[in-house]
């Protein structure tokens, strides 16, 4: 796409060797994984905090 400001997004990614490109892709994947895991943990903990003692108050 040529963006709103004319940024040429379709340019080929050049200037890096394959190993460095793989390393950067791997680091991005790890970062995304860490963020997703953190989001799961945050949602879990926040739910426990918001429910408080009511989390135990249910019929068995």
């Amino acid at each position: 796409m040529t963006g709103v400001q004319g940024v040429k997004d379709s340019k080929p990614r050049e200037g890096l060797d394959a190993a460095e490109r793989d390393r950067r892709q791997r680091m991005r994947s790890i970062a995304i994984a860490v963020v997703l895991v953190m989001m799961v943990v945050v949602f879990y903990l926040a739910t426990i905090v918001r429910l408080g003692s009511n989390v135990l108050n249910r019929s068995l």
Binding site: D9, K11, P12, G15, A31, M39, V42, V49
Partner: protein, 314 residues
């Protein structure tokens, strides 16, 4: 960044980016304007801690995280939209998009995702009013400031500055305090602080703005009028920044800090007004710009420290 490097980027512009490199995690972090985020985190945290009521520390931390990410999302969307002029300005030529390290599409997707994620998380996990205020803040920064005002009026940062002033209001609301006179006062302090802060920067970067056609006040009205306006806003700002003491938001330490630093702010603003020529004029503007950052960090830092101590002693 070196002058030569900056010039090369300026000349290269977007078309000259030497092929797009595979972006690193750091490139995406840079899109979030981490230095701006640090101020947002401090002011939002102050809003949360100073608000009445007891928010659970975990929910408080989540609120700060969401507000910081929302600010980062605004930064990424701003860089996406302004990539064309960023490439031609010395101050911004090294940003990830002009350097060809991140594409416009990637920045757009990153910014949109973070915007929705931060607003939804804040609303779902902490407080829906805070979530709505964060959404409004992001929308105001992107649609009102970046897309509408920035390239059209010299009052761009006067009105657009509201976006940067919202974090303490969002933080206060996140802590369950709704919208109150205290949070509005914190908003006003940042709102009135923004024009002298940015105009001081624009004074010694006016050629950059002129080159890309952004109508900053020094470009449109000239440096003399800008220095006059800086002084006017500074005179309004200093008593406003002392006011938290008189409504019980700040304590005695805050009063002393705001008076002493306020005197410093006025000193640098008067100096900026009186030294207008050549390199010394630029230096005076740079000193005011630097002091303005210290000023706001100190005001909110002291407010935060005072409220933290009060909570611990309560």
């Amino acid at each position: 960044m070196s002058q030569a490097g900056a010039e090369t980027n300026v000349e290269a512009g977007l078309d000259g980016a030497a092929g797009l490199n595979e972006p690193t995690v750091g490139d995406f972090l840079q899109l979030m304007k981490p230095r701006v985020m640090s101020l947002v985190v401090l002011t939002a945290m102050t809003g949360i801690v100073a608000a009445p009521g007891n928010i659970h520390p975990l929910l408080g931390a989540i609120a700060i995280l969401c507000i910081a990410v929302g600010a980062g999302a605004s930064g990424a969307l701003n860089m996406w939209y302004d990539a064309d002029i960023d490439a031609k300005m010395q101050r911004t030529a090294a940003r990830p998009i002009p350097r060809g390290r991140v594409t416009g599409d990637e920045a757009l997707a990153f910014g949109v995702f973070l915007s929705f994620a931060s607003v939804l998380m804040l609303g779902l996990l902490v407080d829906w009013l805070a979530g709505a205020l964060l959404a409004f803040t992001i929308g105001f920064y992107i649609f009102v400031y970046t897309m509408w005002l920035k390239r059209r009026t010299p009052q761009n940062i006067v009105i657009g500055g509201a976006a940067g002033a919202f974090p303490p209001i969002v933080g206060w609301a996140a802590a369950g305090g709704g919208i109150s006179i205290e949070s509005v006062l914190m908003f006003l302090i940042i709102f009135v602080w923004t024009p002298p802060h940015f105009w001081a920067l624009a004074l010694y970067r006016s050629r950059d703005y002129e080159r890309v056609g952004v109508p900053m006040l020094p470009v449109v009205a000239g440096p003399e009028e800008t220095r006059r306006q800086i002084l006017i806003y500074s005179v309004i700002l200093v008593p406003l920044a002392v006011a938290p003491y008189f409504i019980g938001l700040g304590g005695f330490v805050y009063l002393v800090t705001s008076v002493i630093l306020g005197a410093g702010f006025l000193y640098y603003a008067v100096r900026c007004r009186s030294i207008t020529e050549g390199r010394e004029g630029d230096t005076a503007a740079k000193q005011l710009f630097g002091f303005s950052i210290l000023y706001l960090f100190a005001l909110f830092g002291v407010l935060l420290a005072e409220h933290t101590v009060w909570r611990l002693l309560a």
